[in-house]
């Protein structure tokens, strides 16, 4: 599993460098005029000037003293995945570096806030009540730096819509700076119950923006329970209706676990009868991280045990012509009739395989496991295809 954040040690510094974003390069001979935007990544320090920062895996004790170089940091070896074009955030005073964008990743998630008005039983990013609006500012800067050929980015939280119109500004900024990049906005959708807000959002007119909103049950009580917020269902559905009214692309997500599997087929029917204008439905496997571990008894059900329910749900969605995908499941725990909707994965940096997968002939088609699942809990029925 890739670690995106880490502690860094200062080897040599210049004065007054603020926390900033840098694009990674391994080229020590970049034109001087552009060097300040880049962080030079090498095994050991080089005596070169004008790079915004230097990142090294080890400090060579026999090296000559660095007269020209400044802001040299030693970074942990787990950052060896970094490649040219990746973007990192370096905070010298806090001694922290975070990888924010990886050029080779199919999907880059950008965290906007850890604040949230829900408290989902299976939350993978448990809420924190702190002012972290610096993350929004950082995201604006990041969008300006991300290469124009990036395929897809996702804005996540917490609940991004807590920023109100500042979020709209961010999405508009992404539309202008990255006109060909798909943007997914993960949200509980409740803020869009405000028709005017939904209208302003729709007016951004981003041609490739999808708002991904969870609806966990057709039973309002069950949905409210899963997200631990009374009245959530009504506001979320109202938000979806408003967004569609203003021409915004919407995806409905359902995380599959013991609290949502019981009415999964009925929920999919509900979506097909009432919200057929939604653009896509994503059925997602459970990630064993965040609150999920604390609530494992309430949530865990072996996917192999619910495979027939999943098949029924997918059959319903396909019958009504609702585009649908299954994410974050292993190929050996779903029925063949679901394979037309099966997607290999949603975030490639999290995926791994277990030992018996070595023999599997279909491994390349399979999304594997979340690292967290591999560590804590996964199906008892994993079997290689031979």
């Amino acid at each position: 599993m890739l670690k995106l954040g880490g502690h860094i040690d200062l080897i040599k510094r210049a004065t007054g460098i603020p926390a900033a974003l840098y694009t990674i390069t391994t080229d020590p001979n970049l034109p001087i005029s552009i060097r300040p935007r880049f962080a030079l990544l090498s095994d050991s320090p080089r005596d070169v000037t004008d790079y915004g920062a230097q990142l090294v895996f080890a400090d060579d004790p026999n090296r000559p003293s660095l007269t020209a170089a400044d802001n040299v940091y030693r970074v942990p070896v787990h950052f060896d995945y970094l490649k040219d074009g990746d973007i990192v955030h370096i905070d010298g005073s806090q001694r922290r570096m975070n990888t924010l964008f990886r050029k080779g990743a199919s999907n880059n998630s950008i965290l906007l806030t850890e604040q949230c008005n829900h408290y989902c039983l299976m939350c993978s990013q448990p809420p924190k009540k702190i002012d972290d609006s610096h993350l929004l500012r950082r995201a604006l800067d990041l969008v300006s730096l991300i290469p124009k050929d990036a395929r897809r980015i996702a804005f996540t939280g917490g609940e991004p819509t807590l920023y109100g119109d500042r979020l709209i500004d961010l999405i508009r900024h992404a539309k202008i700076q990255l006109p060909h990049t798909s943007v997914d906005l993960l949200s509980n959708g409740r803020k869009f119950k405000d028709k005017d807000f939904a209208s302003r959002f729709g007016k951004i007119g981003h041609p490739y923006c999808t708002v991904a909103i969870p609806v966990y049950s057709d039973d309002p009580v069950r949905h409210d329970y899963v997200v631990q917020a009374p009245g959530a269902f009504d506001e979320t559905v109202r938000g979806i209706l408003n967004l569609k009214r203003f021409g915004q692309r919407v995806e409905v997500r359902i995380v599959l676990h013991k609290q949502t599997i019981g009415r999964l087929r009925q929920t999919c029917e509900f979506l097909c009868r009432n919200l057929l204008f939604v653009d896509h439905v994503a059925l997602m496997g459970l990630e064993i991280t965040g609150f999920t571990r604390a609530n494992l008894d309430l949530l865990w059900i072996d996917p192999y045990e619910y495979r027939h329910i999943l098949s029924e749900a997918i059959e319903t969605l396909n019958t009504y012509g609702m585009p649908a995908s299954v994410y974050n499941h292993q190929l050996c725990v779903v029925n063949p009739d679901v394979e037309g909707n099966y997607r290999k994965s949603i975030s490639d940096w999290k995926n791994e395989y277990i030992e018996c997968c070595g023999a599997c002939t279909r491994r390349s088609e399979c999304g594997g496991f979340f690292s967290s699942s591999k560590m804590y809990r996964y199906s008892d029925h994993i079997k290689p295809y031979v």
């Binding site: 119950k193 405000d194 028709k195 005017d196 109202r238 209706l241 009214r245």
Partner: protein, 99 residues
């Protein structure tokens, strides 16, 4: 054959009884009379009908009156929300609850 069936007018509305008789008009014709606290239905069957068949029709009438009565209760309770839903279904502006 003609049979009288009574309904307590304190319990059932005349409307419900009439609706029930109408619904079953292919099985018998009825004359309805209000007297004291009773609604009297004088049912006329075709000549060829047998006792058990007529009896079955009468049971059906009793059930139908209960159903019609229940329908009126349901309708009274749901009339306002029904009108609201229809009004919004056919309005130009759109959905209820525009915040």
């Amino acid at each position: 054959m003609t049979v009288n069936v009574d309904f307590d007018s304190g319990v059932f509305s005349l409307d419900a009884v009439k609706a029930a008789c109408y619904a079953l008009v292919d099985r018998f014709t009825s004359d309805i009379e209000l007297s004291d606290r009773k609604i009297i239905c004088r049912l006329t069957f075709s000549d060829s009908i047998s006792e058990p068949a007529a009896s079955a029709h009468i049971d059906r009438l009793r059930k139908e009156v209960l159903d019609q009565d229940l329908r009126r209760k349901l309708k009274a309770e749901t009339e306002p929300i029904r009108n609201l839903i229809l009004a919004h279904a056919f309005s130009k502006t759109g959905l209820i609850g525009d915040e």
